[in-house]
């Protein structure tokens, strides 16, 4: 059982909004957001409020723009040529497109886990402390503490504590993905983005990661993209259903799966298409 993680004492973007136990209901606020890859529009006028310290799942058929929206939350799409957007995304009261903030510091606040695990060809230890190192943190005691906390947070500590200096690539697929999760939470971000984190994992590893997600939501605001509907029901609090770049429906997960408001949603969750 990973211990309950302590709240980060200092937040880079302290706002006046006080955080209740429930968390802010509009911690991430996406407003009329449209997105273009060159001429191709991938997202159409999305408006969506993601509550703090809850798991929000994005579901929808392939190519409907789930990953695109997710990658916009930490502006990873900036690396792509010819992109364009309209509308705004506000995190914790401040626009991520604010010209005064560096995209680098935004990414430090937002951890990300990818569909395919991508540990660096470095030791397990170095993989976990990488976000700290690039922030200029090289104090051994801090790094050691972070490694243990993050690996425990990622439910990997017991498995690797004796071989922290072996290559991260020597782990199994599920372990590698949990290593990536440990890396993503090492710098204590506020938000954790996960893009189909279990799609390349076997069922047992998937169960472990899902348990982990339920633990982590006590600490982080989690947005998870999944095409596995069981997974969404098992570990998310709220679910957003996208279709062809549009947000079709966004509600409490039990409501979406038991009593969807839209016909399209119902068709999708009952497997009539997708």
């Amino acid at each position: 059982m990973p211990p309950v993680l302590s709240k980060p004492t200092e937040q880079p973007m302290e706002t006046t909004v006080n955080t209740t136990a429930e968390g802010r209901p509009d911690f991430i606020s996406i407003r009329d957001f449209s997105f273009f890859y060159g001429k191709k529009q991938a997202l159409f006028d999305i408006s969506l409020d993601i509550p703090e310290r809850q798991v929000t799942a994005f579901i929808g058929p392939s190519g409907c723009g789930k990953s695109t929206l997710l990658r916009n939350l930490n502006r990873m799409n900036d690396l792509i040529d010819g992109i364009r957007h309209s509308g705004d995304i506000v995190v914790n009261g401040r626009s991520i497109y604010d010209p005064h903030i560096e995209v680098i510091s935004l990414r430090k606040r937002v951890g990300m886990v990818f569909q395919k695990s991508n540990p660096f060809p470095k030791s397990i230890y170095e993989n976990v402390v990488y976000p700290l190192r690039v922030s200029g943190q090289n104090k051994k005691s801090v790094l050691d503490e972070t490694v243990e906390r993050s690996l425990q947070g990622a439910a990997l500590w017991d498995e690797v504590k004796d071989r922290l200096h072996e290559s991260g690539l020597s782990l199994s697929g599920g372990q590698m993905q949990r290593l990536c999760i440990a890396r993503a939470i090492a710098n204590r971000p506020e938000i954790l983005l996960m893009d189909e984190p279990c799609s390349a994992l076997d069922p047992i590893a998937t169960v472990k990661v899902e348990e982990l997600i339920r633990e982590l939501k006590q600490e982080f605001t989690i947005v998870i993209v999944t095409h596995n509907m069981q997974q969404a029901t098992r570990c998310s609090d709220r679910t957003a259903f996208f279709y062809l770049g549009k947000l079709v429906e966004f509600d409490e997960t039990p409501k979406i799966f038991s009593n969807p408001a839209q016909k399209q949603t119902e068709d999708y969750i009952t497997g009539r298409f997708g």
């Binding site: 005064h100 990414r107 990818f114 060809p121 990488y130 976000p131 690039v134």
Partner: protein, 763 residues
């Protein structure tokens, strides 16, 4: 519907539809054999080249063979001299009455050629001037006479016939009339002749030097006239025993009974005692048994009674103004009391003999080429001019012939790789100098300066190329907009295919003179531009994001490139001003101050300044190496999996942090290969070095002096190298060393690369 059997085109029936066609099988089988054969052929030819090179080199290290031929008994008398022609076919001996006994090696016959010398006494001393092949005889009543054996060679029936037609000049007297001459020698420089005779009647001893000047008359006939006689006796300590006169006839070396050697030099028509030394002063018995000049007449080999053997050479001692003798080589004891020490006419070898021991030694490399115990006590010997035949006279007057097969006596490990004390040098050193001005020039074949030069050239080239190539590759692959990358790379690849002779030509004709004039400018640019770059980068990153956002990532060079060019231009034109401030030398003679880097550098560092120097080579070779390193490194960096870069960016790393911490380590194996391939290119690079340096085989790291690399050496020397001569084989050895060098580099590189690849493998 009737079941119609469909047959595929080219197949007769349904049955053989699944059969593979005969042709496919045939081609398959043929290609298998062909590829195997081709592979074997390639391996065989590479091995063949290797074997060929090794075969070419082997004789350099092979021990010589000295094989006995025949023995010819001679009439029993006391011979004063043993000489031989160039080919060793007709040795001759001087009999007491002055007649020549000519021995025919082929037939074994001896022929007494008496000359009407007109001398009254017996021949008591004789000396053969090897360069002139002329004998001087001294008699018991103080006379001397010149005798020429006059060997001539002619062809008869496809065989070489050597004829001897001795002639004699008229005898004259020297020194004390009637006093027996016990030793005599002469030297002839062409314009003057020096005859030195040692006379002894048992009690008194006299050393007389007679000088003759030769004037060339209009008719082309030489006229000799006496130019003074000098009594050298007062200058010699103790009883003189032996006289040596170098072929140049400008000095005399007299050996006294006590083992003391006096070096008398003829200067302005007068003799002066320049040096007096005792070669075996440290031994209980310092007496010198035998001594002789080594070919070139700059070194003397001495042997003591006990068989010790040392070489003394003339050289300018450190800080000295006059050439003096100093010990340069020492050989192991002969193991017998020496009675003969004969040198050759071709190289620095000499034969030392005594008792029943014969030892063929090579003075420069201090090596014993051959040593043997013969079944007879030896008394005299001679080596043919071609260093191919040896004739040894034993104490019972039998002449024994030997075949010498020693094509590379001057070679061997020591000569090629060790420090060698060459004649005239003040100490042992590594030296390469294959050809010289005079006949008795001794080639120096140390490969060490060439290996050094190779490393030096490589070092400076890599010093210039590696930072530029690596940073350029990093920038291109990680920071530059992909649109530009697709033009930058092919451009660099075109640069890589520039023939190096063009680069060398450019270096020699344009860059070298340009750099020579503008070293301070270059220094400013080299130091200044990176500083400007660093500063502008720093400044840029601290600009508010509102300004920075006008330049898209990957387009920054649009701002920086002009900035760097302008600053480079400004710095270049500031060079002369910088020179006039920083590089001022004061002429010690006139007190005049001049601002000239070319004068400043030698004045301050003591190292020389050459126009074609390592800086030019490093620069130009860098241009040959940069594209190679760049392209391979760029490939390696671009092949780093995208997810790793994305992961790093998602962790909040900047592009530079990502490049340095993730991309570079992951691509390290590839980068390392690039560096090694660049290194290999620099090590083997020939034309740039040949053209852009003075090809001076010096051993100093000074950046403003040249070098000679192994490859350039081969290119420069091979046209001049006679087939199968030592130089020729040494060049092959240079090639092998070069090969081994690159082989070693590649092996180490491959091992390290595999290690890196294992360490940073991404899947």
């Amino acid at each position: 519907m009737p079941n119609t059997k469909k047959t595929l085109p080219g197949h007769a029936t349904e049955q053989n539809r699944f059969e593979t066609s005969k042709l496919t099988l045939l081609v398959d089988r043929f290609m298998t054999v062909f590829i195997k054969f081709g592979g074997a052929l390639v391996i065989t030819s590479v091995l063949g080249i290797f074997v060929f090179i090794v075969l070419q080199i082997w004789p350099l290290f092979a021990p010589p063979s000295v094989t006995p031929l025949k023995s010819i008994p001679l009439p029993d008398t006391k011979y004063a001299l043993l000489g031989v022609d160039e080919w060793g076919a007709k040795p001759f001996l001087v009999e007491p009455d002055g007649s020549l006994l000519v021995v025919d090696y082929e037939t074994g016959e001896t022929q007494d050629q008496s000359l009407n010398l007109g001398i009254t006494g017996q021949v008591t001393a004789a000396f053969l001037n090897k360069r002139e092949q002329k004998i001087i005889l001294g008699t018991s009543n103080g006379q001397f006479v010149f005798v020429s054996p006059n060997h001539t060679s002619r062809e008869s029936g496809g065989r070489q016939i050597i004829d001897v037609n001795p002639t004699a000049e008229t005898p004259s007297s020297i020194g004390d009339p009637g006093m027996p001459i016990t030793d005599i020698a002469y030297g002839d420089s062409g314009s003057s002749k020096l005859i030195v005779a040692l006379q002894s009647d048992g009690e008194t001893n006299r050393v007389t030097a007679s000088l003759f000047k030769r004037k060339r008359s209009l008719m082309g006939k030489n006229k000799e006239e006496a130019a003074g006689t000098h009594d050298l006796t007062p200058m010699i300590p103790g009883r003189p025993e032996k006289i040596l006169v170098p072929v140049t006839g400008d000095s005399v070396v007299v050996i006294s009974e006590s083992g003391k050697v006096s070096y008398l030099v003829l200067a302005d028509g007068k003799f002066e005692l320049r040096q007096s030394f005792t070669p075996f002063g440290d031994l209980a018995n310092s007496h010198i048994n035998v001594a002789n000049f080594i070919f070139g007449d700059v070194s003397i080999a001495f042997a003591s009674d006990s068989g010790e053997n040392r070489i003394f050479s003339l050289f300018y001692p450190e800080g000295g103004k006059e050439r003096l003798f100093g010990i340069t080589h020492e050989f192991p004891n002969l193991g017998a009391s020496p009675v003969l020490l004969v040198s050759t006419l071709r190289n620095k070898a000499f034969l030392l003999g005594g008792g029943k021991e014969l030892s063929l030694r090579y003075s420069t490399t201090e090596s014993i080429r051959w040593q043997s115990r013969v079944p007879y006590p030896v008394s005299n010997a001679v080596i043919s001019g071609k260093y191919q035949r040896l004739a040894v006279l034993d104490s019972s007057n039998t002449l024994h012939f030997f075949q010498i097969d020693d094509p590379h006596p001057d070679s061997g490990w020591k000569a090629l790789f060790g420090k060698v004390w060459y004649e005239g040098a003040p100490g042992p050193k590594w030296d390469w100098q294959s050809t010289g001005g005079s006949d008795d020039f001794e080639p120096k074949y140390s490969l060490v300066p060439l290996i050094f030069g190779t490393l030096k050239g490589t070092l400076y080239a890599m010093l210039f190329a590696v930072p530029i190539a690596l940073l350029a590759a990093l920038y291109t692959s990680q920071f530059l907009d992909p649109r530009f990358r697709s033009t930058v790379k092919p451009t660099m690849e075109i640069m890589a295919s520039l023939p190096s002779v063009v680069l060398g030509f450019l270096a020699a004709i344009y860059i070298a003179p340009l750099i020579e004039r503008q070293v301070p400018s270059l220094l400013l640019v080299v130091v200044g531009v990176p500083i400007v770059a660093a500063f502008s980068g720093f400044f840029w990153s601290h600009l508010p994001i509102q300004i920075r956002k006008f330049i898209r990532p990957g387009w920054e060079w649009i701002v920086f490139l002009p900035l760097l060019f302008i600053s480079a231009g400004i710095l270049w034109y500031l060079g002369p001003a910088f020179e006039s401030v920083a590089f001022v030398v004061t002429d010690p003679a006139t007190g005049q101050k001049t601002a000239d880097f070319r004068a400043w550098w030698p004045a301050v560092t003591g190292a020389s300044y050459d126009q074609r120097n390592s800086l030019v080579v490093g620069f130009m070779m860098g241009f040959a190496v940069i594209p190679i390193i760049f392209t391979i490194t760029e490939d390696a960096l671009s092949n780093v999996p995208k997810p790793l870069i994305t992961a790093s960016m998602a962790c909040g790393a900047s592009r530079w942090q990502t490049a340095l911490r993730v991309v570079m380590p992951t691509a390290s194996a590839g980068i390392f290969s690039a560096l090694m391939i660049g290194l290999g290119r620099a090590v083997g690079e020939t034309m740039i070095v040949v053209m852009a340096t003075g090809n001076t085989p010096i051993m100093e790291w000074n950046i403003f002096s040249g070098m000679r690399t192994l490859s350039a050496n081969i290119a420069v020397e091979l046209p001049e190298a006679p087939h199968h001569a030592t130089l020729y084989r040494t060049l092959f050895l240079g090639a092998l060393v070069l090969f081994l060098l690159t082989f070693a580099i590649n092996t180490v590189a491959e091992v390290l690369r595999q290690h890196l690849r294992e360490k940073f493998k991404t899947t």
